[in-house]
Amino acid sequence: MKTNETNYAIELKGITKTFGKVIANDNVSLGIKYGEILALLGENGSGKTTLMNILSGIYYADEGTISIDGKEAVITNPNEAINSGIGMIHQHFKLVEVFSAMDNIVLGTKGKYVKSSALKEEILQMSNKFGLEIEPDKKVYNMSVSEKQTVEIMKVLYRGAKILILDEPTSVLTPQETEKLFIILRKMKEQGNAIIIITHKLNEVLAISDRVAILRKGQVVDTVKTADTNEKELTELMVGRPISLEIKRPETENNKTVLRVVDLSVVNEDGTIGLKDINFTLKSGEILGVAGIAGSGQRELCETIAGLMDARKGAVLYNKENIIGKTPDEIINLGISMSFVPEDRLGMGLVGSMDMIDNMLLKSYKKNKGFIIDKKPSRLLAEELVDKLSIVTPGVETPVRMLSGGNVQKVLLGREIESEPNVLITAYPVRGLDINSSYIIYDLLNAQKKKNVAILFIGEDLDVLLELSDRIMVLCHGEIMGIVDAKNTAKEEIGLMMAGKKMKGVDSDE
């Protein structure tokens, strides 16, 4: 494939998109050539996903033009995007679980009926070309996350996409799977495809891309050659100012066992295994990190300890008292606090349509006597949190769903910390947060640790887990693969455990 300086596979000029008062993309101009991998880097809310949704026909730009192969194109729906050779691989897979890989790949294509043996042949040929490993007859529900992703990639390739957009493709993968994906992407690049990868992980940007476009507040602040840059420069461009990337791990003393989980097994509502014979201890003044691919039992673990899920067998001993079978109310009163942040962020910890005051009330409204609710303490607490954690909000009476992700997280974590818990369970507290907010959250957790709170930290970014936690427990399919000392464990080791390799001599009690 011949390329020259002006021959862009796709070129965006002056793209602007607003949602209400929010400007998601502001006069964005960008180009990518065939045979190139462009990383789109930016904090959450910087407009990466909006921009790509415009390219793939989900949104329509208010202003600006898109050119494909030098010709102006109008993309008003996903079908037109795919006809123009643009294929998007979403963060959340869009596959039919009960169909086979093959059925999912041809689903929605408008060609003539092809015999399944011929189709299989075609798919296998195509997968060989790009080094994809795919079993055409395997049902999606039997697949691992990375296999599903492969099907998604195959799906867009089958539709003839020459320009691939991947939205945070590595967020659900183990380090090993990520490496595998990168090999595939490099192969596609060699075949002359144009690839845009959206991410906020700097090390991945440096590993895979040729060029990096950095978005901040909806604008392209710079486009740099990957070879000429480094993590520090990229962070500064992304955040807009220099920032320290070091996470502290304070030492604490007098660590006593607070929570002891014994042979805990949980079965989900649909009959699948949630947790299987889990054994571990949690000490005061420590952060126990939990690593694992999404859906390995993290949610079940949190909800069982908080009393929201029933255990099939086993016990959770809190200061030697079994809390299995207690109501969430009783568990809260013992001083066990959970701030679980599910994928939709607001999830179960906050009520989106309510303001901060009412959300502060959520766990404390029972404490004041009588029938009438007293909102004054909540208002004071809300105002104090806004001050202390520098929460950006028009006022404490603004519904929390109007706040940005980072501020929502601060509200949630702030409230939980204010209740002075003895055990703090926190799941994905920095999911979707920008770098700066993430570091505020780490500091908050460390401050709690110094107060001798026992913290169970469910995370997804291994680098953060390794730096912040004292010990790391790795889950896979609801089982503990091992509990390791965070100070002297390599990332690759955890990756292998996440994929199901058991550590020899697992010692859950140290």
Partner: protein
Amino acid sequence: MNNKSHTPFIRIVKISERSNKDTINIRIIAFVSALTAGGIFILLLGYNPLELYGTIISGAFRSKMAAQATIRFMIPLLMSSLGVALAFKMRFWNIGAEGQIIAGAVCASYFALYHDNWPHFLLLIVMFLAGAIGGGLWGLIPAYFKSKYDTNETLFTLMLNYIALYVITYLRDGPWKDPGSSGFPKIARFTANAQIDKVLGVHFGWIIALILVFLVYIYLKYTKHGYEISVVGESKSTARYAGMDVRKIILRTMIISGGICGITGMIQAAGSDMTLASSVAGGVGFTAIIVSWLANLNPFGILLVSFLFSVLEKGSSVMQSTYGLSTYFAGVLQGIILFFILGCEFFIRYKFVLTKKGGR
């Protein structure tokens, strides 16, 4: 590559925030458009729209009796709207107000028919409580099954309406049949002792209704129960996470919701019908759903909307008789008005955007 696509001419854009002023303006525009559209319809039939609209307003208040009739119509509508609003706030789709009204009326009627020798006020209080308990229990049934087996409350409450209706028919044709009716199936008229007294010409149900407006407002806004209802309505998992007993809250709220509807039934039977008729609810329980949503589940809004509905209802019946119009005419007019009012909710949440030339 296939690029014969075209630029979309109109797009629909969701609005995240709209100021109160805008919202009110849109509602006013919708109301005016409704009157205009209704006016065109009237014109096509060969009448003067202004005159007819005038008749609706004046008809509802043209005499003391007309005004009292309007208020009498408003009382059950207002009360049952307050009742269902409680359930709706919890996102519990109680469309069984009809049945709950009937259940309350039946229970109250038992005392009116068989204990009318009790002292007047004791009897009324007992009837009031019986109505509340009857309606409350009728509301509790679907709530119990919902909280225990997660049954669909919409279907459940709807079906209970018909059961309640047939209970009246059974009582009318069987055990409670009026012996003095010479074979005609009806239930005896309540004696004066079992009738609700009049205050300012209308039975004192209107006072109870007004008190309920305040009570429901305070209950929803300032009490722990009200707070729990909103949290459960927003997200059951959040409620559980906060240590709330979701089951208990659902049961409790539905007893209150059904209870208010049951009181409506008691007041309707003993204040308006003076007997237990199968028409005691007469569709009010369904209209209440529209009223409470139009009022955004706000008790004072419900007061206003139910008043407007009553004026429209009473006024159109006057209009019908004055101009000799078909009974369906008023129905069509009401339909047009509702169409615009409900339709404007779309414009409160979304807007249309015209694409500029060439998509640039």
